[in-house]
C-alpha cells in the first residue's frame, strides 16, 4: 500500500486532486482512498489531504497518514512554514511545486528521500490561466512516482471540470513532461529553518477557561505566505489619500514617513482590494 500526503492551501484544490488521483487508481482496478484533514482553515491557509492506494487488496485503515511514502507540496511557500517532510519514509519521494531548480532545492532541503520538482504555477498560468496547480501537480506526481498512468488521469479530470477540463488536462500533461526527478542525496536531513508554531505554550502553561492575557498576540502569526500576488505602489500616481489603508481587511497597510503607503508583507494576504479600490490606479498586483 502506498500512502500519500498532500500539502496545499485552502482553495488550491488539494482535496479535488486527491479525489481525482483516487478515481484514476480505481479506474486502473486498484483500491484507493482520498480524504482531507482540516480545522478552521480559510482560503489560503495550509491544509492536509491524504491518499492511500493499494494495487490488489482493500484498504482497511481509516486514519490520517503519519508516515507517507509520497509527499506532494502544492505551494512553494509551505516549505518555509511547515515541516513537509515530517514522517516521510527514507525511501519515499517529495514532489514539489517550485520555481527553483533541483540543485537549488537540494541546498535548502536535503534528506534520504528522492526529490521531484516542477514549476507548476507557471504551467497552470499558461495552460489554465489561473495559478491553481492541483491538476498540474497530478501530472508531476504521475511522472515522479508512476503511481497511476498519465492517461488514467484524463477521464476523471474531464468529468470533474466539464467546460474547463481542456486546460487542466493540458497542464497535467505538460507537468508530466517537465518534471525533474533526482536520486537520493544521502545527506542527513537538515531543516530550512525553525517553523512557527514550535513556540506554542504547553497545556500546563495555558490558563483555565482558555483565557488569553496578551492582547493582539495574533500579530506573531504570519498570514503573508497565503499570498500569491503582492501590491506594489506607484509613487508617481499616488495622491496619498489612504483609501488602501481604509479598505484593507488585514489592517496591514501602513503610512511611511513620506506619506506614501505600503503593505506589511508579513500579514498581506494579497486579496487585491487596495489595487481595485485605488482611485488613481497607483497600485498594481505583482506575482510573488
Amino acid at each position: 500500500m502506498i500512502e500519500i500526503r498532500w500539502h496545499g492551501r485552502g482553495g488550491q484544490g488539494a482535496v479535488t486532486s486527491a479525489e481525482l488521483l483516487a478515481l484514476a487508481a480505481i479506474s486502473e482496478g486498484k483500491f484507493a482512498q482520498a480524504f482531507p484533514s482540516f480545522g478552521p482553515e480559510r482560503r489560503g491557509a495550509p491544509v492536509l489531504v491524504f491518499n492511500r492506494v493499494s494495487p490488489n487488496s482493500p484498504i482497511r485503515a481509516r486514519v490520517s497518514v503519519a508516515h507517507p511514502d509520497i509527499v506532494i507540496v502544492l505551494d512553494p511557500g509551505l516549505l518555509y512554514i511547515t515541516d513537509v517532510t515530517s514522517g516521510l519514509k527514507e525511501d519515499g519521494i517529495l514532489v514539489l511545486n517550485t520555481p527553483k531548480s533541483l540543485v537549488e532545492i537540494r541546498s535548502e532541503l536535503s534528506g534520504p528521500w528522492r526529490l521531484a520538482v516542477v514549476n507548476a504555477t507557471s504551467i497552470a498560468r499558461e495552460m489554465i490561466g489561473v495559478p491553481i496547480v492541483n491538476t498540474t501537480m497530478l501530472g508531476a506526481l504521475a511522472r515522479a512516482t508512476r503511481i497511476v498512468e498519465l492517461d488514467s488521469l484524463t477521464e476523471p479530470i474531464l468529468e470533474r471540470f466539464g467546460a474547463r477540463a481542456r486546460g487542466n488536462v493540458d497542464a497535467c500533461r505538460k507537468a508530466y513532461e517537465e518534471t525533474e526527478t533526482g536520486e537520493p542525496a544521502g545527506i542527513v536531513p537538515k531543516r530550512p529553518k525553525i517553523f512557527e508554531g514550535e513556540e506554542l505554550p504547553t497545556w500546563q502553561e495555558l490558563l483555565p477557561g482558555c483565557v488569553l492575557t496578551k492582547p493582539g498576540s495574533a500579530r506573531q502569526y504570519r498570514t503573508g505566505d497565503w499570498r500569491s500576488e503582492r501590491p506594489v505602489w506607484d509613487h508617481q500616481r499616488c495622491i496619498k489619500c489612504g483609501i488602501c489603508y481604509l479598505f484593507c481587511p488585514e489592517g496591514c497597510v501602513k503610512q511611511t514617513k513620506e506619506g506614501y503607503f505600503e503593505a506589511d508583507l508579513y500579514y498581506c494576504k494579497g486579496c487585491g482590494i487596495c489595487a481595485r479600490e485605488c482611485w488613481t490606479e497607483a497600485i498594481k498586483m505583482v506575482e510573488e
Partner: protein
C-alpha cells in the same frame, strides 16, 4: 496636490484594536467590518462574540487578534452574555465597587443573530439593556462551509440550498432583521456596510451614546461563500447598496432616515452578475427579485419621507 494629501489617516484613528494575523479568508468583508467597528468603538468596550467566522479566525488558541476585552460565547447567547455583563457592571457601580463604564457590545453573524441567537437577542432588547448588538451578515453559515441561514437572500445557491434543474437555490426571502429590531421599539437601529466606511463608523459612534439597546446590521461581503473574486469585496458591497438590495438607513426612536439615497436604483442584475451564487438565475427570477426590491425600497423611502414631512 498638497491639499488633497493624507485624507484618511486624518479622519480616523490609526490605532488597530483588531490585530493583523487573523485567519480570515483573503478579501474578507467581515474582517474589514470588524476592524472598522473596533476603530470606532475604541478602547473602552467589552465585547461578547458569538461563535462564527469572526470568532474562529480571530482566536485560535493561544493567539488572539483582539486588543480589547473580549469573550467568546456560544452561538445562541451573545446577547444574553452581553446582558449579564451590562447588568453586572451596573450593580458593581451602584455598590461603588467599580467606577469605569465600558460600553458592552455583542457581536454575531447572521446565523447567530437571525437563527440561533434570536430569542436571546429579543429578550435583551425587551429588557432594555444598554448595549450595542452588531450583526455581521454574510448571508449564510460561511464558517462551516456555506449553509443557508434565514438571512440568505432569495435565489442564492448554497450547499444546503443548491441550485439545480428544479431548485433555484434559496426559496425563501431574506429575514428582515432590522425591521424586527425596530419592532422591539429600541432607541437605535441602523444598517451599514464596510463599503461605506465613514457611514459605518458614524453609526457606531452614535450607537455608543445611546442609552438602551442599539442594533446595527452590517452587510459583510464573503468572497468565498458568494463566489466572487477577493478583490471585488468592496465593489459588491457598494452594488448591494446602489441596487437597493441593502439600503443604508437608520431608525432613531422609530424615525427612519435614509443615509444614502439614489434618485434611480441600479438594476439588481448588476449586483448578481458579479457573484457565482446567483449565476444560475433566469431572467424571470431576476425580474421577480427586482420587483420585490423596488417595492421594499419604495416603502422604506416613504417611511423616511413621512419623518421629513413631520419635521
Amino acid at each position: 496636490m498638497e491639499t488633497l494629501a493624507v485624507y484618511v489617516p486624518r479622519l480616523i484613528t490609526t490605532k488597530e484594536y483588531f490585530a493583523p494575523g487573523h485567519r480570515a479568508c483573503m478579501g474578507c468583508g467581515e474582517a474589514l467590518a470588524v476592524r472598522l467597528v473596533c476603530k470606532a468603538l475604541g478602547r473602552n468596550v467589552i465585547i461578547a462574540n458569538a461563535t462564527g467566522c469572526m470568532e474562529i479566525v480571530s482566536s485560535p488558541l493561544p493567539y488572539t487578534s483582539w486588543e480589547v476585552p473580549w469573550i467568546h460565547t456560544l452561538f445562541e447567547n451573545a446577547a444574553a452574555v452581553a446582558s449579564g455583563i451590562e447588568a453586572g457592571i451596573k450593580v458593581l457601580r451602584r455598590k461603588g465597587k467599580y467606577s469605569k463604564k465600558p460600553k458592552v457590545v455583542a457581536m454575531a453573524g447572521d446565523g447567530g443573530t437571525a437563527d440561533i441567537g434570536f430569542q436571546a437577542l429579543s429578550g435583551a432588547f425587551e429588557r432594555g439593556h444598554e448595549f450595542i448588538y452588531i450583526c455581521f451578515d454574510n448571508e449564510a453559515y460561511m464558517n462551516t462551509g456555506i449553509q443557508r441561514s434565514s438571512a440568505t437572500p432569495f435565489g442564492a445557491s448554497t450547499t444546503t440550498s443548491p441550485a439545480g434543474k428544479v431548485s433555484i437555490g434559496q426559496a425563501t426571502w431574506k429575514k428582515n432583521m432590522p425591521a424586527i429590531a425596530v419592532a422591539h421599539d429600541i432607541p437605535y437601529v441602523a444598517t451599514a456596510c464596510p463599503s461605506y466606511p465613514f457611514d459605518l463608523m458614524n453609526k457606531i459612534s452614535k450607537a455608543i451614546k445611546i442609552e438602551g439597546p442599539a442594533y446595527i446590521h452590517i452587510l459583510s461581503v464573503c468572497p468565498t461563500g458568494w463566489r466572487l473574486p477577493a478583490d471585488l469585496t468592496i465593489r459588491a458591497g457598494r452594488l448591494a447598496v446602489e441596487t437597493g438590495i441593502f439600503p443604508l438607513y437608520e431608525v432613531e426612536e422609530g424615525k427612519y432616515v435614509l443615509n444614502v439615497d439614489f434618485p434611480r436604483l441600479r438594476p439588481v442584475e448588476d449586483y448578481f452578475k458579479l457573484q457565482g451564487r446567483f449565476r444560475h438565475l433566469t431572467q424571470e427570477v431576476i425580474a421577480q427579485i427586482q420587483e420585490r426590491v423596488t417595492a421594499e425600497y419604495t416603502r422604506l423611502r416613504e417611511k423616511a419621507a413621512r419623518v421629513r414631512d413631520n419635521e
